[in-house]
């Protein structure tokens, strides 16, 4: 700690940080543009000038850029010095020379850092009569709108896009006041993190294009803390609602998880909430195949009761979901009984999830949070294509790739936050980074050596080899080639010599061997490096919660099918699940053909269409619950808005209604009571009862709830008057400490701390933009003042590892003898950030970026294709497990020889039999050239 004197008063500041950082952390309002807590200092805008004095006798002082000046003990500075104020006012006047008169039509207006800083720096009147320079705009794709006139040349966009996120297609062009930030030509931004430009840009150059279509000012958005549902990382989000529709998603800062950023799937995948595919009324199928009729909820419930009449205990089976909340899964499990509860995932996924829980729970190595990943200094990615399955993890790994060479900065006496200098000093040096995958990944560029391309089993073998190199007692791979051995040795040495190595794997390749190999490697590494971590990417937003539900006993859905086939069930309740994907079309049809089949979901799926009774559920934005992310961190999401009509209820409430109808329970408890019960009954979830992390519904500050609406929320007395003159009372929220109102407690003075889990928006006097966040952090970029939101459920037990010894055989080149015209190839699953997640595919913007226009395809190396006599864009058929599918073929230079990547987008148009294909992969498949099959 250093003591610095600001305008004569002593304050404590952290050693080694920049003066701007220190001033902001202490709560002073120093204007700035180019500085960003995650991108650090570059000194481009000259806005953060303060005066520094040599000693107490020095009255003259000198003006310095506070972002470029390190804090020193005993330093004296003045923010309020008249000369410094004048300097800042003239800088902002100069930055505003060419800024257009756009605020009323600019989407950034009202949450604009430039507006805030202009006022803060004291510029109110345009004196110049010079003409303004203008720029033409570019079409940057479906996510980001471009309006270059508004640019103030702070360079934040390229610093984020190129330096932080590794994008290659956004850059700065031109010179002097012609400087232009854009692409070399029009086209969609390639990076899957492009949406962050909207938040990074201090003004309205980059704005949210999907938000533009239903634009609402920041102050009119009703928001609540939420958790992203589009992958397993559990990034924290702030969805905003107006007039009953979800308008946008913004980042919610959580130091341990997503920090300042979100991926585009998380940011733009929200539109399923408003989409036509939502189930909005209950439907009851009359006599088998007749079309589903709309029915009142009471009718649907009474239909269920009628059908279940006589179904004795054990006759109802329940199928849980990796995308439903803990509470919903728990309610279902309680209704049907633990022995009748099945996990709605394929056998492969079920087994992998069980193994992952075992690895985290029983092994000595902790699961890495995204913060751990950002801080890692050596990375090994085993098999998983993280950029496509868990994009924010890929972004974290990108930061990890800079950490090892950052150690050298001390040698040059460059502080880590002096970004331009630091990047210049470390040049192209990278942390040790190794990628083993089937095909090219977007992390390949970070790889220390040529990425290892191989089949899943071979990737696993490499992992086992590395583990053996690290710890000789872990089993070796006897028939490994010398090449593989030397690669493993190089990786092992690099990992062992690092301080915070991270091993990344996941369920993407659908190989349990890879998970085991990664665990062996991490455990072996732990002996040499205590801070070793392992990160998993999982299939769904609550996969971990579901897996923990019955661990280690649970059952996958295939056992439910067996039971149905054996006649052991009369009724089934499926929640938020597409059974085709886990058990195939026939299996799903068989389960749903039980005398009583109920599907509770918020979007229409093939399963809900097969169901006898389909009930409209609330989406994440309309309900409350808990998700457990990939590192077993339980996080609460709250209702952002009321369900769009009275028929829509949370899944858990529907189950309670069914329970009440069956006469087992009279009272329907509140969601919070359900959560408390769940935490009590299941010791693995006990931490979610911790009120410090999850404030109870009775939580009040100064007797008040926390408002969902900002204090400037407008139109209350006119927004409903087209329906009726009676102004409705704000709905009561009995399940949480948040209110559906603008009234309540909100304070940004750092005195009263709103719990982070309840922080609905960031605002402070003078700070309307997202940068107001610094008023809620203890030190910029540090943890939120309101404590952590979310709690990890599992920490490593620390016991000695029992290494996995089941080492797979080397991948065969072919399955065996094949016909003259048919060749066997090993089919592996491919994923794409835009396309491999069902809900986000309801967003037009996301669906538009799905590869190959949303058509399924097979990717194989050109050599593999030419061996089959195929051209790049031919169609071929794939026979897998006896079924034949039509596929477009795509040449993929990077694909390992003998492998074929299968990609099936998860959109509504995909045939039911294709949807279940992933559950069979990886597997041997035969390719039939289409013409030959016809003969």
């Amino acid at each position: 700690m250093a003591i610095i004197f600001i305008d004569g008063k002593p304050y404590q500041a952290k050693d080694g940080v920049s003066l701007l950082d220190a001033c902001l952390s202490l709560g002073f309002d120093v204007p700035y543009f180019c500085w960003h807590p995650a991108l650090h200092s570059v000194g481009a805008c000259r806005q953060c000038a303060v005066k520094v004095f040599k000693d107490e006798k020095d009255a003259k002082g000198k003006i310095v850029m506070s972002c470029m000046t390190p804090v020193a003990d005993g330093m004296r500075l003045s923010i309020d010095d008249p000369e410094a104020i004048k300097f800042r006012a003239s800088v902002i006047e100069w930055l505003m020379l060419n800024h257009p008169h756009d605020c009323p039509v600019c989407d950034e207006g009202g949450e604009c850092h430039l507006q805030d800083m202009t006022l803060l720096a004291g510029h109110v009147y345009r004196r110049t009569t010079l003409k303004k320079r203008t720029h033409t705009n570019q079409d940057l794709g479906p996510f980001v709108n471009h309006e270059m006139n508004r640019c103030i040349q702070c360079y934040r966009c390229v610093r984020f896009y190129k330096d932080y996120a590794g994008g290659k297609d956004l850059d700065v062009f031109g010179c002097h006041d012609h400087v232009y930030f854009g692409r070399s030509r029009d086209g969609a931004l390639e990076s899957e993190f492009s949406g962050n430009l909207v938040e990074v840009c201090p003004t309205g150059v980059f704005t949210d294009k999907t938000f533009k279509k239903h634009y609402t000012r920041k102050w009119d958005l009703q928001a609540a803390p939420s958790v992203c549902v589009h992958c397993s990382l559990g990034c924290n989000t702030l969805p905003g609602e107006r007039y009953g529709t979800l308008r946008r998603i913004r980042n919610r800062y959580n130091q341990s998880v997503n920090g300042y950023f979100l991926c585009d799937r998380g940011r733009y995948g929200y539109e399923f909430v408003n989409s036509k595919i939502r189930i909005r009324t209950a439907s009851v199928k009359t006599n088998g195949a007749a079309p589903a009729d709309e029915a009142a909820p009471e009718l649907a419930i009474s239909e269920i009761r009628k059908k279940l009449n006589g179904t004795h205990e054990g006759g109802i089976i329940g199928i849980g979901s990796p995308r439903a909340s803990l509470e919903s899964n728990y309610a279902l499990r309680e209704l049907v009984g633990a022995e009748n509860f099945y996990h709605g995932v394929s056998d492969t996924v079920f087994n992998m999830m069980g193994e992952i829980v075992r690895i985290i729970k029983d092994g000595p190595v902790a699961a890495a949070s995204l913060e751990d990943a950002r801080e890692a200094d050596a990375v090994l990615v085993l098999g998983e294509d993280v950029s496509n399955t868990a994009p924010m993890l890929a972004l974290a790994l990108r930061q990890a790739s800079r950490n090892a060479p950052m150690v050298n900065l001390a040698k040059f006496k460059i502080p880590h936050w002096d970004d331009a200098a630091a990047r210049n000093a470390i040049q192209n040096e990278k942390s040790p980074f190794f990628v083993a995958s089937f095909t090219g990944t977007r992390l390949d560029g970070l790889s220390s050596e040529k990425p290892y391309r191989a089949a899943p089993d071979d990737v696993a073998r490499l992992g086992f080899l590395i583990a053996h190199e690290l710890a000789p007692e872990s089993p070796g791979v006897p028939d490994a080639s010398a090449e593989e051995k030397s690669l493993a040795r190089r990786i092992a040495v690099a990992l062992r010599n690092s301080k915070k190595p991270l091993i990344v794997c996941g369920t993407g390749p659908q190989s349990i061997h890879i998970l085991r190999a990664a665990a062996n490697a991490a455990w072996a590494l732990k002996r040499a490096v205590p801070d070793a971590r392992i990160a998993f990417s999982l299939p769904g937003c609550n996969s971990m919660g579901l897996a923990l539900m019955d661990f280690p006993s649970g059952r996958p859905v295939s056992e439910a099918l067996k039971r149905v086939q054996a006649g052991g069930a009369k009724a089934v309740i499926v929640i938020e699940n597409e059974l085709d994907e886990s058990i195939g079309k026939e299996g799903a049809e068989e389960i749903m053909s039980l005398p009583c089949s109920v599907a509770i979901d918020f979007i229409a799926t093939r399963t809900s269409q097969l169901a006898g009774v389909a009930l409209p559920a609330a989406s994440f934005a309309e309900s409350q619950g808990t998700f457990v992310n990939n590192e077993a961190r339980a996080q609460r999401f709250y209702m952002v808005m009321q369900p769009q009509n009275k028929n829509i209820h949370g899944v858990w409430r529907w189950i309670m209604e069914i329970k009440a109808a069956l006469g087992t329970e009279k009272q329907c408890p509140e969601i919070d009571a359900l959560t408390a019960e769940l935490a009590k009954r299941m010791p693995q979830f006990a931490p979610i009862a911790d009120r410090a992390y999850f404030p109870p519904p009775g939580f009040r500050i100064a007797g008040m709830k926390i408002p969902r609406q900002p204090h400037r929320y407008s139109g209350r007395t006119a927004m409903h008057t087209n329906i009726g003159m009676v102004e409705p009372k704000p709905p009561a929220d009995t399940g949480s400490a948040l209110s559906f109102s603008m009234e309540g407690f909100y304070d940004a003075s750092k005195k009263q701390k709103i719990p982070s889990a309840l922080l609905t928006h960031y605002w402070a006097p003078f700070w309307n933009s997202v940068q107001a966040l610094n008023k809620f952090q203890s030190g910029t970029g540090g943890p939120l003042l309101g404590g952590e939101s979310g709690k990890r459920l599992m920490e490593p037990s620390g016991s000695a590892p029992a290494y996995f010894t089941d080492i797979p055989e080397k991948q065969k080149k072919a399955p065996g003898p094949s016909g003259a015209n048919n060749k066997g190839f090993f089919a592996v699953p491919l994923y794409h950030v835009f396309g491999s997640e069902r809900l986000s595919m309801e967003s037009q913007a996301v669906a538009g970026l799905c590869p190959e226009e949303g058509q399924p395809f097979i990717a194989a190396s050109p050599r593999t294709l030419s061996a089959l006599g195929l051209n790049k864009s031919d169609t071929m058929e794939l026979e897998i497990g006896g079924a034949v599918f039509d596929f477009k073929t795509v040449a993929d230079e990077e694909m390992a020889e003998g492998l074929a990547g299968v990609f099936v987008p998860k959109n509504a148009n995909i045939a039911a039999d294709l949807a279940g294909l992933y559950s069979k992969l990886p597997a041997w498949a035969r390719f039939l050239v289409k013409t030959e099959r016809k003969q």
């Binding site: 756009d102 203008t134 400037r712 407008s714 007395t717 008057t721 003159m725």
Partner: protein, 171 residues
Amino acid sequence: MLALLRALWLILLHTFKKRVTVQYPERKAYVPPRWRGRIILSRDPDGGERCVACCLCAVACPVDCIALQATEDKTGRRYPETFRINFSRCIFCGYCEEACPTYAIQLTTDYEMGEYRRANLVYEKEDLLISGQGKYPGYNFYRVAGLEIGGKAKGEAENERPPVDVRGLLP
């Protein structure tokens, strides 16, 4: 006694003074041009809607009686899709007019808005939008703003230079 007579005398005198009561509605009282009466939405000199749906009137409104939703035409010109004022709540404070950056929303001299049903006091956009410019003739926001819209390309607004050629190397 004296006081009573004095009062009678004064009343008698008043019968010869000029009357202040106006026979409304046969005769109308004088209303100054800056009177804050019924709110209208005006049009720019080219006949386009002045309102750009910036929501500043709504947020300035102390009784929150203005609700609107923005939308855009194909050329990127923003306008209100719906614009509703609940006059049964309006206090005619004029803050909306003060906040309006485009002179779109204006208070007029019309105060005759009585209704028997409160619902009739809810004015939608078609009730509010007039065909003229109202009190502030001549102003067209889009001629000043840098945004490109139909009929006005980049660099064609007032006080603008033509768009920069980024590939040019000249100083």
